[in-house]
């Protein structure tokens, strides 16, 4: 049966990713006795939460064959705006809600130029990257905002059923993103646009609007990550999120989502974020100097893509 064969291949390529993660975990467990412990596992999950949340939004954008470089700066901007409100008279719940709303709006601003004005996503979001960062610095005069209400601390350091709150938020947002991609007309349109934009347009899919919404969703994801990060640091910093776009893109791509669009899933992105997180954590435990950590991280990303390319080229023949 051809059906069985196709599913096998799909399983293999998904399995391969999980396998890579397992191999990595085994190696690190052998190298360090502090690695394979419950507290370290939770630690890794908490560390990857911010990146994984951003990467969820990035996954949606990349499936349309787009890219969003502005997520780190956007995180900083909405982080300080929200913190500014929360340290003023605004109740924390409202400040957080506003953070999410502004994040989505700023994302939609990117999306407007990508979808309706048809400027290349790379350029639009590169502009966004500098504009949002500049605004964040201007708003705070370059200094962090602290003295936040305890609600932020609760998000950053609380836990439920022994699992840290940031991890719950990450899991919730992943499920939401998965649901959006798999079970809604919006998600279907996202895949269709990434796979064949012209065919999508000829099928009556509102391509411009859908594209704009994907960037709005990426903005929302960054804003959620901003709230978590603010809680972790117990302050909002205009320099937060520096280079976060690269970690998010790396998680998405290592997770098997194709930069040329049309293919990908949140599950892969989670594994991608985990692989990167485990590597970071392991190297810290092994006291690898931070300069070399960057080299190793880059090498692993390249290696993951090399393996993916080998698998997919074998599938084609």
């Amino acid at each position: 049966m051809s059906l069985a064969r196709v599913n096998w291949r799909e399983l293999l390529s998904k399995y391969g990713l999980v396998l890579a993660l397992l191999v990595l975990i085994i190696i690190l467990a052998l190298l360090s006795d502090r690695f394979l412990t419950t507290s370290n596992a939770l630690n890794v999950l908490r560390q990857i939460a911010v990146n994984a949340i951003i990467a969820c939004g990035m996954t949606v954008v990349i499936i349309t064959a787009g890219i969003d470089l502005s997520v780190g700066s956007l995180l900083a901007l909405v982080g300080v705006l929200g913190a500014g409100m929360a340290t003023g008279d605004v109740p924390p719940a409202l400040a957080m809600g506003a953070t999410l709303g502004i994040g989505a709006l700023l994302g939609a601003f990117n999306g407007f130029f990508v979808g309706y004005v048809r400027i290349a996503p790379f350029i639009v979001t590169l502009a966004g990257l500098t504009i949002f960062r500049g605004l964040a610095l201007a708003f705070t005069d370059g200094s962090p905002i602290s003295g936040l209400p305890p609600a932020y601390f609760a998000i950053g350091y609380g836990s439920f059923l022994g699992i840290p709150t940031p991890v719950w938020i990450m899991i919730g947002f992943m499920l939401l993103t998965h649901f959006l991609l798999r079970f809604t007309p919006f998600g279907r349109s996202v895949y269709a646009i990434g796979g064949n934009e012209e065919a999508a347009r000829l099928s009556g899919i509102p391509v411009k609007r859908v594209k704009m919404l994907t960037y709005a969703y990426a903005g929302l994801a960054s804003a959620l990550a901003a709230i978590v990060l603010t809680g972790r640091l117990n302050s909002a910093q205009p320099s937060a999120g520096y280079m976060f776009e690269l970690d998010a893109i790396a998680a998405v791509v290592v997770g098997g989502t194709s930069l040329s669009g049309g293919r990908g899933a949140v599950f892969g992105t989670l594994i991608g974020a985990l692989i990167i997180g485990v590597i970071n954590n392991g190297m810290n435990l092994l006291n690898v100097p931070s300069f070399y950590q960057q080299v190793v991280k880059g090498g692993v990303i390249l290696g993951a893509l090399l393996i993916e390319r080998l698998i997919s080229s074998r599938n084609q023949t």
């Binding site: 051809s2 809604t184 007309p185 064949n196 000829l202 099928s203 009556g204």
Partner: protein, 478 residues
Amino acid sequence: MSGVSKAYGGAYALRGVDLELRQGEVHALVGENGAGKSTLMKVLAGVHRHDGGTMTLDGKPVSFGSVAEARRHGIVMVYQELMLFPDLSVAENLYLGTERGLINHRRLLERARTDLAAIELDVDPATPVRKLGIGEQQLVEIASALVHDSRILIMDEPTAALSAVESERLFSLIDSLKARGVSIIYISHRLEEIFRLADRVTVLRDGRLVGTHEIAAVSPDMVIKEMVGRSVLNYSRKRVERGEIMARFEFEGPDLKPGKLELRQGEIVGLAGVIGSGRSTVLNALFGLTGKASWNGMPVNSPRDALRRGLVLVPGDRKMQGMVAELPATQNISLATLERLSRFGVMNARAEKSQADEWSGRLSLRPRDPNKPAGTFSGGNQQKIVVGKMLATEPTVLLLDEPTRGVDVGARAELYELISELADEGLGLIIGSSDTSELISLSDRILVFRHGAVVTELHAPFVEEEVVRNVTGASQLA
């Protein structure tokens, strides 16, 4: 070339074809779609290797395993899609790959000026190719073939995208090439051009040679007689009483003069015409893709607009415009009906599955496995998926552009059957096709397009030769 054969799988595309080319002649190659013209030329240009027969060049046997090898022997094909680098200058395009070491721009320009003057082509060699018109680009491409000392040029429908003035320049270039001893194989559906340019004409039908004639010894009607009557799928539609006028269209477009079209319920209108005649542009305009169009007085602004009002197009290029290859057939079929298949913003999986099952059943999708990615189906079944997607919207008017291009005979018969059924159900259909026998089998009426306007309207029963005569422009000749 003698006795050349080529088979794909079990099907012969060419059977024992002979072709002889003299130095400095323009040799026209004609035949209906699927006659084997392109295959024969691909064998000659080294794209495919022939299975049987022999080729000789200057008395020596040759066989080309690659385009590069054919080029080394001086044989070059000028493709319909241009192969130039738009941001490089004319001169740079001409000598790409021939210069070694550093490029001396001044010397390059000098050389280009001399070479262009030699073939009387008046183009500034310093201009970036992007800034030239499509016709001039084509001339440059031909010139670049000559720079590489080509002796045999193959041109496939070279005037398809050209204006009348540009075509004239091409013709005079061809004349000057002839004078230099270059041989040209000229493929065209436009008999007017062939009778003006060619020294001899070879007619192919069903992959076989029908005959080669001195152009002075034949008339356009004789050539048409040899072209038609190919053994195609013998399909004939039962034509019933047509209903009320359901749609009045007005349209105009980039290469399309303003025009009108009325469509009755249950009617199939065929659009005939060569590439670039406006045949395909009309369909795109009516669907809101290009130009302007109105349907019953209301403008059609976008495909989305057209779809909402029950007008759909099955586009001519299914890979580029029709399907999303990575998505399963099921999801392709539901692509135009996402809103109807969802409630409160959530897809109804059961409704989606039953819609896909319904259409893959009605269209006899093979293999009947709608969970496979659309790209893994055969051409004919891919087309069924695209048709199913559009029909799922329950349209009242169905536009089809080249509905059976690249579709095998079996699937073609099934599509014809479906098209007839749809007409019987009261849909109005407009079908554009370069396959004359397809239009004759299906249409109640055929509109022939030439130079962006309808020049003739023919009614069933049709005489194939009459249709072909109008399409090729032979009716304009003596």
